[in-house]
């Protein structure tokens, strides 16, 4: 065991990388839930985004086109969910589970020819001087563009919800869809758009895992990150900045346990590997006392009867 092998600067830098897929998926789901919809299919959309992004990157040679494809794939899958829950008025829990089961199968099918390949790398940010600074350089200025995009997206979602009319309408739909309908807002349209946004975010989150974090394709490689993203939204009380905080916290735990595994700590590998899931449960328990941030219409179907 050699704890000194763990470099704190690299730890923080890799923590940010580990947190990004979680952040992207959770911020998308946050918007979905604020509109009053619970989409449990995050895991399925992520894994589909992971393979779509991977495959397109390999075929086109451009990781950026791949990320775009991942967003489209995630949104396309989420459209199935939107159709089921918003038009066919199916149960949201069941539909979300269906999405995850379907996405896991679909990604495995799509990914058959891509096992063991290395994807084209995404260029990292390289600002002369700044990126070479000790400590600050690798942490703040040495990452790939998607990581910064995730941070930007968090700020954008926060501002959208807080300051714009669109954000106000979205929150209103999530709070009381009957009242929003009575005022003439199209509940279904708002929710479908939110679901598509959530799907695209989850897709990009998935692609981040297969293109940057790992980077390669293996079946079921999201390994529950989509589910942790769902837990993160609860943890964050449906507030964007707290999603960021939570994502970095979970990213940190994950990176730490991986580092401890590598350093050969006397705890068996399996117990370290289960720690993120146990901590998620712990956090859920602590946060479940406070449900004040939850949108009041969350998970309820809307049908304009008259």
């Amino acid at each position: 065991m050699d704890l000194s092998a763990i470099n704190p600067v690299l730890l923080v830098a890799s923590l940010m990388v580990a947190a990004t897929p979680l952040l992207l998926a959770a911020i998308g789901e946050l918007v979905v839930e604020r509109s009053g919809v619970l989409n449990l299919g995050v895991e399925g959309m992520m894994i589909t985004g992971a393979i779509a992004g991977f495959a397109v990157s390999v075929e086109t040679g451009s990781p950026y086109v791949g990320v775009l494809a991942a967003a489209v794939a995630g949104a396309a899958l989420s459209f199935l969910f939107a159709f089921l829950t918003q038009f066919a008025l199916a149960n949201q829990v069941a539909s979300g589970l269906a999405l995850t089961l379907f996405g896991l199968g679909l990604s495995a099918l799509m990914g058959q020819g891509y096992v063991g390949i290395r994807p084209p790398a995404m260029t990292r940010l390289d600002i002369p001087v700044l990126s070479d600074l000790p400590v600050v350089g690798p942490i703040l200025f040495g990452h790939d563009p998607i990581l910064y995009f995730g941070l930007l997206l968090t700020a954008a979602v926060w501002a959208f919800l807080k300051f714009t009319r669109g954000g106000l309408i979205l929150r209103a739909v999530g709070e009381n869809h009957d009242a929003a309908h009575a005022l003439g807002y199209s509940v279904i349209r708002v929710r479908v758009l939110a679901i598509l946004f959530g799907g695209a975010c989850a897709g990009v989150g998935g692609a981040y895992i297969s293109l940057i974090r790992v980077p390669q394709w293996t079946e079921g490689m999201t390994a529950g990150i989509g589910w942790i993203a769902l837990a993160l939204v609860v943890f964050a009380s449906w507030k964007p900045w707290r999603v960021l905080l939570g994502a970095y916290l979970f990213g940190g735990i994950n990176v730490l346990q991986l580092n401890l595994q590598a350093a050969g700590v006397a705890i068996p590998v399996e117990y370290l590997a289960m720690s993120p899931y146990l901590i998620t449960i712990l956090v859920l328990v602590i946060m479940s006392a406070d449900k004040s941030g939850a949108p009041a219409s969350l998970g309820r179907s809307f049908h304009a009867s008259q």
Binding site: L84, A90, L101, F102, G224, M274
Partner: protein
């Protein structure tokens, strides 16, 4: 423009027939998928749905139907109780693993005893293992209001890690030349769950049949079943009727965990034979599809479980004979659930065509 109009009452006829429609539509969509993969769709569908039952080697595959169907039905029956009440245990896979670990451990601790009490002890331990694993989300939900969906699911990953740890450590076969995995329980006379291996009969099949009957009686004849249905239909009315939500959550999650644990135990002591890293193959998740496809009704679940078992077996055949990827079957199963949920609309709503913008 298409207009939905809520029916005054759900249509019973459609409620029973939509699963059949869903299967048919999925076959068509699945055929298209197989064609897109470059396989002959008709041959693929025949291989999956016909050959295991009536093909040349059906005598070999038919018993498999019981072997694969039993855990699916057993788990789905348990899940359906909770789903009816709006209590979502989606971590059956974890409870299934824990049942197998606990049951196998209880037996292996006494190896190589040939006492007649070994198997009953294992059954008990398996049920207990699954029950405890499900009581974690149940207790957290009633004590703290924690979301049972996420907790039960997180515990699947924890159980998988425990499974890995057990097959590499505590339960590893001391005479296994260092290979991971426990002793083979199926070859241990006092501990295996087989009744008649040639016919696919093991105690899990018996347990599944008993579970179907008990669930039917519970839901249709007993006040507890009525309370479960009432809670799912109208939570506030259930409260008004004096239903204790805490007890209901503990009962539904506990029962489904217990049944999943039993399924795991019967599997590890029979068809699978040993605790190993890749012991679980997703029955706990497929059972969710089975529960919905069976309309959360015990008899429906029995039929749906057999159908799902058929897709597993047929999928294996199609994989070996036609080179159809195993994941194609997973997609197929996912599609089935999709179509079912979409067609469900028809039970509660009439779909009408309306002229847009009438004067």
């Amino acid at each position: 423009m298409i207009v939905l109009e809520k029916r005054p009452e759900p249509s019973r006829l459609l409620s029973m027939s939509t699963p059949v429609f869903a299967v048919i539509v999925t076959m068509i969509a699945g055929g298209l998928l197989f064609a897109a993969l470059g396989k002959n769709p008709f041959e693929a569908i025949r291989t999956i749905f016909w050959d295991p039952l009536f093909g040349e080697y059906a005598f070999y595959y038919r018993p498999q139907l019981l072997v694969k169907g039993a855990p699916l039905v057993l788990i789905a029956i348990g899940l359906s109780l909770g789903f009816r009440a709006g209590i979502w245990n989606i971590g059956a896979e974890g409870q299934y693993i824990m049942g197998a670990i606990c049951g196998a451990a209880a037996g292996l601790a006494l190896y190589p005893s040939e006492s007649v009490l070994i198997f009953p002890l294992m059954v008990l331990a398996g049920a207990l293992g699954g029950w405890i694993w499900a009581m974690i989300p149940a207790l957290l939900k009633v004590k703290f209001g924690t979301n049972e969906i996420l907790v039960s699911l997180m515990l699947v990953y924890v159980a998988e890690q425990l499974l890995a740890s057990m097959s590499l450590g505590l339960l590893k076969n001391p005479q296994g030349f260092g290979f991971p995995g426990s002793r083979n329980i199926a070859e241990w006379e006092a501990a295996n769950s087989w009744i008649a291996q040639d016919y696919g009969m093991h105690w899990g099949v018996v347990a599944a049949m008993i579970a179907v009957i008990m669930a039917y009686v519970l839901l249709n004849k007993h006040i507890l079943g009525f309370n479960i249905r009432l809670t799912g239909e109208a939570r506030r009315a259930a409260r008004f009727a004096g239903v204790n939500p805490t007890r209901l959550i503990l009962f539904c999650l506990g029962t489904s965990g217990m049944l999943a644990g039993l399924a795991g135990l019967f599997e590890v002591a029979g068809p699978s034979g040993q605790v190993s890293i890749d012991f679980n193959v997703g029955y706990g998740f497929t059972a969710i599809i089975v529960a919905f496809l069976g309309r959360l009704h015990p008899v429906g679940i029995l039929l749906a479980g057999l159908l799902m078992a058929l897709t597993y077996i047929g999928g294996d055949i199609a994989e070996s004979q036609m080179g159809l990827p195993a994941s194609a079957i997973q997609v197929f199963q996912g599609m089935l659930l999709f179509f079912l949920l979409a067609l469900d609309l028809l039970t509660n709503y009439r779909v009408k065509l309306a002229m847009k913008g009438t004067a």
